[in-house]
Amino acid sequence: MGADNRREAEWLDTATKGIRFGPDRAAVRSELAAHLEDKEADFRRIFPDMSPEEARARALEEMGQAEEIGRELGRIHTPWLGYLWTASKWTLGLTLTLALVLWGWRGLSALDTWRMLEEANEGKVPYGALVYEYYLSGDPEAPFPRQEWETEVETGITRTPIRWVEGTETVRAGLYALQVTRGALWQFEGESVEEPGVQSPRYALECELTVTGLPGLSLHPEAAYYISGTDSLGNTYQNTGQGHGTGEPYILAMELEGQGLEQRFRLSVWEVPPEAEWFRLDYDWGGVEWAITVPLKEERT
């Protein structure tokens, strides 16, 4: 019995040794082994007196030359696709493990931070953001946002929007699309608690520059320090990022919270005369040039 099993095993091994890729070889071997089994079972059925060893021997005989079959099968079952498949499985497995480890580690620490921030900022909008929104909305009816402890305090200033900014055309520069989306020219009257003694009325243009970029390539906030300006009366405005003398007109650029691929910058321009009919943002730095003219409308739509 043992000897025949071995012969069968040897036959199968020889018949499949040409197949180099392991899993393939095993599959074909089991297919051939099944065939042999069926054949032996048939012999036993047809010749009930035949011994199992004989049945096995005859089955092997009728199967044919293991060497020849082995050669043919070897030619057909090339291992390259098999190796490639194994390689692709391993690469995927390793990359997946790496990704999970990385994500698990980062995810856990990020989760903590995120949870802490969520708790701390439960539904609160920073006061500064509320103030910027107020100015950019140009809404004459809107109440100026106050901090909780400020309700009783009079700041002594009245704020009135006198000209309005509606959306301008979109300008393209580098990878970005830039547009001034809203804003207003504000008139401030009265004496400021923060800057007592400063003459009134004063005027400032507050407008929102929206920059649309590409994923992972947001406009660096420092680039906004190179935006300067001109008004319809010929006054020029330097960006505070470049330094400016006191008393001179200036533009202050500040990044606000944006969404997705959109970034928002608040541009504060001091002081734009109330007669100005338009304001132009100028940019010429590092070989890139662009300009956006912002009409200052007398009526709000």
Binding site: V28, E31, L32, H35, G64, Q65, I69, L73
Partner: protein, 116 residues
Amino acid sequence: MKFDKGLIAGSSTLLVLALLEKEDMYGYQMIEALARRSNDAFQMQEGTLYPILHALEKEKYLSSYQQQAPTGRQRKYYRLTKKGKRLLDEKRTEWAAFHKGVEDVLSGGANALSYS
């Protein structure tokens, strides 16, 4: 009666494809069907069936799947694909032409006037 091996080799493909035309079969089943249908005229070395099956499968003339036999073992069944059916039809035509040609020669041209 055992036929000349050369004749068998060329027509093995045709035989295998024809066997699978009506029904999916596994290797041993095909050997049996072949013997049965030809009344034992065709008896090939059974092991040589598999290189043919695998080659045909590799070229997408056949597809395969595993099915569990009543004995509990997994059997690999082969099925004729559309491409395989087209090849079968082609080979049939070829064989018919070859067959006719041989017939014509053997009969001394008696059938030469009848067109097929």
